[in-house]
Point group: C2
Chain length 248, copies 2
DNA sequence: CGACGTGTTGATCTCTCTCAATTAGAGTGG
DNA sequence: CCACTCTAATTGAGAGAGATCAACACGTCG
């Protein structure tokens, strides 16, 4: 149960993340309080909670979500190792979102003042936080385009392509040509604004057409070009391209 | 055509915005290059453009949007005076969004390096930029909930309530109990992921029920409680509540 | 005065939702 | 080892919210 020192953070070994100076790493370390584990399905942050801690996702997947009073749920985006959690809770004047663990997860917990102190003591890390926040917004933008204007088939195809790249960029041990994919169809549905049943039917249709396969919690893209075409995605479409991203 | 000095920025007189120190204002001023005007409908930033300037919206309304190859358009959020424009363009590794002027607008133009320099030279302003970015993301989150999980009627009601508060908070001269509302129904439709026709029908239904009225480019909420109820909004639901927001 | 943008309304059509039922796998307890 | 239970995936059938098509009204503007 030994906690990782930030210097030895396994995430820093991934090519996705840019390297920090020893000084920056020490600063981040000084704000780390502890690690905390959540089981799959556990609520990390409750909707409406405004005094949540700051977290960094170290292991596992989670997601941000919002719900309506009758239980309808919208998943805002998925969180993967290296993602920063809890910036909005301290800022928002509109009701905040919840965060739920999708798999068993390990999080690094930072004291609440860290957000400000990082800005104050290191402009570079402060800038990185802005970068991460803006970058997460881009993901939500993309999802809003999907949910607002794409058909069910296009939405599913877009999600598969995007998550594949997000997951691949954080994968330490490449599992053949597939990536770990722990989502249930209900979660896919809630992320895309679709019903469970229609999500299933559309997913099967794409699978029968040979574009992808989901098996034993792994996602394989058999025809990424066709998927991107089906999704009307003509950009790079993935996170983790040429440029690196900050790690706090 | 005299350009405003940041010290005399009319926006600072609004109760919505928190006050900055003279030093901070001078710093912001030092990065201001000029003002620029756009006519209604003009493209401020093109989709995919990654070298755009930074702007602050001084007068008028604009919106951020994304489109698919066949022209389907999703409006991501509306921009009102005081909003900061262009942070994502410098950060995103996914294709960026466009920005279009909704009315005739005046923008303050900042040099591109300002984003980093503000962080470097003033942790407070750097923190404010993070705040603004996170706050904008909250708006997109809320819209994603609408588009993904609310019915057409709920979406329209939610949008009316939200825009009413956003507009009211920036209004200098209160126009009776209404606020300026320059949106066409097409733009409302594109913001909510609905068709123009269905938007019109739903809008009329709410209007006939006496919940609101749109007349001569002004929006009046006749029964805000009922609208919030119709929208399934139980939080404060508005931007610009008790706490002030930064102005860059 | 005609062209154009915006708003309005009616009539279909269809994509997606809801309801219902079945299968398969993983645990659990007797 | 075998019922029993629970969750997740799957498939069919019918219903409905919202899309599309088509007309028309109204104001502005060159």
């Amino acid at each position: 149960m030994a906690e990782v020192h930030c210097v030895d953070c396994p995430l820093r070994r991934l090519p996705l993340f840019m390297s920090n100076s020893a000084q920056e790493i020490a600063l981040v370390q000084s704000f780390k309080q502890r690690e905390i584990r959540f089981n799959a399905g556990a609520l990390v942050i409750q909707e409406g909670q405004t005094d949540a801690s700051l977290f960094t996702l170290l292991e596992g997947w989670a997601f941000r979500f919002k719900t309506l009073s009758d239980g309808r749920r919208q998943i805002l985006n998925f969180l993967l190792p290296g993602d920063f959690i809890g910036v909005q809770q301290k800022m928002a004047d509109v009701a905040a979102h919840g965060v739920m663990a999708l798999t068993d997860t390990v999080l690094c917990v930072f004291q609440r003042a860290a957000l400000w102190e990082l800005h104050r003591q290191s402009p570079t890390l402060g800038f990185n936080i802005t970068w991460l926040t803006a970058s997460e917004e881009s993901l939500v933008d993309e999802k809003l385009l999907s949910v607002g204007r794409r058909t069910a088939e296009e939405r599913i195809a877009a999600l598969l392509v995007q998550l594949f790249h997000q997951a691949a960029a954080r994968q330490t041990a490449p599992v053949a040509d597939g990536v770990a994919f722990p989502l249930t169809q209900q979660e896919i549905a809630d992320a895309l604004g679709l019903s469970l049943v229609h999500t299933n039917k559309t997913l099967r249709k794409l699978e029968r057409r040979g574009l992808h396969r989901i098996e034993n919690g792994c996602l394989y893209l058999h025809d990424e070009v066709a998927l991107k075409h089906a999704a009307d995605m003509y950009g790079p479409g993935g996170v983790g391209g040429p440029s690196n991203r900050p790690l706090i």
